[in-house]
Symmetry: C2
Subunit: 106 residues, 2 copies
DNA sequence: GTCGTAGTACGACGGGCATCGTAGTATGGG
DNA sequence: CCCATACTACGATGCCCGTCGTACTACGAC
């Protein structure tokens, strides 16, 4: 079974989180995940970049502590680390998602 | 009189704001300004980088729409664009500052 | 005018990042 | 076992970013 490294909650750095969120593609992923209760495979989010670039963005998000990723079969399932982020930086993720949602409507 | 360009409220982009905040020095500036009601000259914030690097960071913050800068005499006064950011991205700045403050205490 | 203070402009440099293509590695299904 | 699917690893490329030093400009005080 393939396992992926995730930072512990106490190792999540604000700068890394903000950097991870400061990219349109990654923000897109985060918003997509925010609108889905279940875990989402990478292949379900169409990022309009090559697959290898996609892999890169998912890794940045995971290593920053923004998302969690687990393998199931050939798929890699993604979900937001809402609880962890909220414990560390209360309300931050929610406000970023709200801001991104608002901006994407204009 | 020297005048500086600031983006209009409607031109402020979330990605740029997040990118501007995703740097320790710039976050330091923002936190400093958040703790001060009055406008603060660049020279009052000790960034532990060279002056030219400091100038660079202030420009990034200004061009992203995070701070406002005006000249007064030889000084350049900085302040947060709280109202503008709050109108665009409600609560975002406050949550980032809270997160940065919390993290800096650990 | 001269001087000091505050910040700028510019060019350089090194590192990191987004991007890609190609080749490769799991995993599950027939 | 073979194949398709889903994602990865690796190397390359080009751009952007943080950093610096040096030379410069604006302003106020004397």
């Amino acid at each position: 079974m393939r396992v992926l490294d995730h930072p512990a909650v106490e190792d999540i750095r604000l700068e890394s989180v903000l950097h991870a969120l400061a990219d349109p593609r990654r923000l897109e992923v985060v918003c997509f995940l925010a609108n889905s209760d279940v875990e989402v495979p990478c292949s379900e989010i169409d990022l309009a970049v090559s697959k290898s670039t996609g892999t890169h963005h998912y890794r940045v998000l995971r290593e920053a502590g923004v998302i969690s990723q687990v393998y199931r079969g050939t798929a890699k399932l993604n979900s937001l680390r809402r609880a962890d982020l909220d414990a560390l930086f209360p309300g931050l993720l929610e406000r970023v998602i709200a801001a991104a949602t608002k901006q994407s409507r204009t």
